[in-house]
């Protein structure tokens, strides 16, 4: 987790440099701000929950629902940023030891596989959102329409798909 984190960013930096020295990934993305805000909100909600429970010895069920939703949002938003920065956990042992041309091809292949994955996820989850919408599903704790939550999965999967497409396009043009 947390663990190859410290190693992988730096490893992927080398990979990125080898791959395209010209195209510099943007330093900070919209997703990074969104992720930081979600992280902050999660911390504050949980903290408030602790304090309220401490003084009134009861907790809010709705915070649990919101927290879970925010965690899924965080996952997809951060995943998008990590795809752009090449921070996802991957075995780069062989790719880094391959010749530059092979390495570029492998990086491009990895992007296409990512697009395939999140493209599928976008389509499949959109189908689930349609069901939520059609059958007027509501959330258990707060009772708002379920699709308010579930709509974000296809949307953000699509964002990841687009981010990866742009990466692949740029890498393709650079080589």
């Amino acid at each position: 987790m947390q663990d190859s984190k410290g190693g992988s960013p730096e490893e992927s930096q080398t990979a990125r440099q080898e791959e395209s020295p010209s195209s510099n990934a943007p330093a900070i993305l919209v997703e990074d701000y969104a992720g930081a805000i979600i992280m902050g909100v999660l911390a504050v909600i949980t903290f408030i929950n602790v304090i309220i429970r401490y003084f009134t010895s009861q907790s809010f069920a709705w915070t649990e629902e919101i927290s879970i939703f925010l965690m899924i949002l965080l996952t997809l938003v951060g995943a998008s940023s990590a795809f752009v920065k090449n921070h996802h956990i991957a075995i780069e042992y062989f790719a880094l030891r391959a010749r530059p041309k092979t390495n570029r091809a492998l990086m491009q292949f990895a992007r296409f596989m990512g697009m395939l994955m999140f493209g599928s996820l976008a389509i499949l989850s959109a189908r689930l959102v349609w069901d939520d919408f059609r059958f007027d599903e509501t959330t258990p704790a707060i009772g708002i329409p379920q699709w308010w939550y579930s709509i974000w999965m296809p949307l953000l999967s699509l964002v990841i798909f687009i981010r990866l497409s742009i990466q692949a396009w740029r890498a393709g043009k650079a080589s």
Binding site: G6, T75, S81
Partner: protein, 432 residues
């Protein structure tokens, strides 16, 4: 047949450098699709459902929170202050600095949950000082790489949270309690070769010329950092907090220490810390979500039972299977981080553990020790890589030193096999 496709596609994609989560997700999609050719949408609607269900677990909220705690304390300068305190207590002399490095790595492990982060924090503070005192940089890198591997054992540990989410019946507090003594033992085990090697190769002879920080001041400064593990573990023990709440309390405590007491964190750092923690958590949670889809395909396609019975009836016996697991997981641990390993292997290994009626809490700690060993075994050790980068040495040159540290780690592993009580005593005593 479908099982071969599932594992084959996953392995090939992974080796080609496709992110682990994507490799698992695509292999699962293919396998689910092949098994449900005649169903609506090929049964693939289970893919987003399982992604959602795997990430959307309330206990998992502890993960981003502990990642945030780790990021905050890593930046707050607590490592340097702990080093000062340890030197003030244990003094200067040949072989002392490597022991201080190990102790500080263990204490930081009690705050953060990530090995490479600890390797960076301790390495950044210690390696230059150790080189000045006459220790070989490759030796320092080996010691710090190994010491930071203990992190995933010492609570709070993100890997143990993941194990607990995957294994019903092994609660987060139980896993945390179980990791404590093996973690300490691991640290003590590493100190033996670190100290003896320093003496034997006459490293650190000029250490006593380095200034010795005053005890009172060091203690006052480091106390704020030392209080963090007490707050986290004590709060959980006293029943004040759930693991998630303990983490969030530590977040605000860390921000208070960093911004008000040490004044090392500025509001600008704060934004960066939250961004970093968000991305780090998301990277882990992405693997969690997609591994959930993989695990779903494993179980619904009925792939686990044949594998389990093949292994159980292979005639290896209990000891043989344990040896097999040791070899397998250390090799895998050289290439992959602990969390990915747990997500891939725990669903597969759980039926085997249940067949032999192994204590699941002990089994989790056993797996974690193996992963920890893999994380400082060259040539692909993530923690060692971070330490080597700071020390500016190649990993090949650490092999001689790491060998001895590995030997010590194996001794600890052997102890854990012979005396499982090292792990199970504390959680049982505490009634988890």
């Amino acid at each position: 047949m479908i099982g071969t496709v599932l594992f084959g596609v996953f392995l090939v994609l992974m080796v080609l450098g496709v992110p682990i989560g994507v490799a698992m997700g695509l292999a699962a999609i293919l396998a689910i699709g092949l098994a449900n050719m005649d169903a609506m949408w090929f049964g693939l609607l289970a893919v987003p459902q399982n992604f959602y269900a795997s990430v959307g677990k309330y206990p998992l909220l502890a993960l981003p929170m502990f990642v945030l705690v780790g990021t905050i304390f890593e930046r707050s300068g607590v490592a340097a202050r702990l080093v000062n305190l340890m030197i003030a207590i244990f003094g200067r002399g040949p072989g002392m600095l490597p022991m201080v490095a190990i102790m500080v790595a263990m204490m930081l492990g009690g705050i953060s949950g990530s090995g490479p982060a600890t390797a960076a924090a301790v390495g950044g503070v210690m390696i230059a000082a150790m080189t000045r005192a006459g220790y070989k940089p490759e030796f320092s890198a080996s010691v710090i790489g190994a010491a930071s591997a203990i992190d995933i054992l010492i609570p709070p540990s993100v890997a143990l949270i993941i194990y607990s989410v995957l294994v019903p019946g092994a609660s987060v507090p139980a896993m945390f309690a179980a990791g404590l003594f093996p973690g300490i033992l691991f640290g003590l085990g590493l100190m033996v070769p670190a100290f003896l090697l320093s003496r034997r190769y006459r490293m650190g002879v000029s250490e006593h010329q380095e200034p010795k920080p005053p005890l009172g001041k060091s203690l006052r400064e480091a106390a704020w950092g030392l209080a963090a593990p007490v707050l986290i573990l004590g709060g959980m023990r006293a029943g004040l907090f759930t693991p998630t709440e303990a983490a969030v309390v530590a977040v605000f405590y860390g921000l208070f220490v960093g911004m008000v007491i040490y004044r090392t964190l500025t509001p600008r750092d704060l934004l960066q810390i939250f961004m970093e923690a968000a991305e780090l958590s998301a990277v882990i949670l992405t693997v969690v979500g997609l591994a959930g889809v993989f695990a779903y395909s494993l179980s619904t396609l009925g792939l686990i039972d044949p594998v389990t019975s093949a292994i159980v009836n292979s005639g290896l016996g209990e000891i043989g299977i344990i040896l097999l697991l040791i070899v397998l997981l250390i090799i895998v641990g050289m290439f992959l981080d602990g969390i990915s390993i747990f997500l891939i292997f725990v669903p597969l290994l759980m039926p085997i553990a249940q067949h032999f009626q192994w204590n699941l809490v002990w089994f989790g700690i056993f797996l974690t020790v193996l992963v920890a060993i893999g994380q400082f075994t060259p040539p692909m050790a993530v923690n060692l890589m971070v330490a080597c980068r700071i020390a500016v040495v190649s990993m090949e040159r650490t092999v001689f030193w790491v060998m001895w540290l590995l030997l010590a780690a194996f001794m600890v592993l052997l102890l854990l096999l012979v005396f499982p009580e090292i792990a199970t005593w504390l959680p049982e005593r505490l009634g988890y």
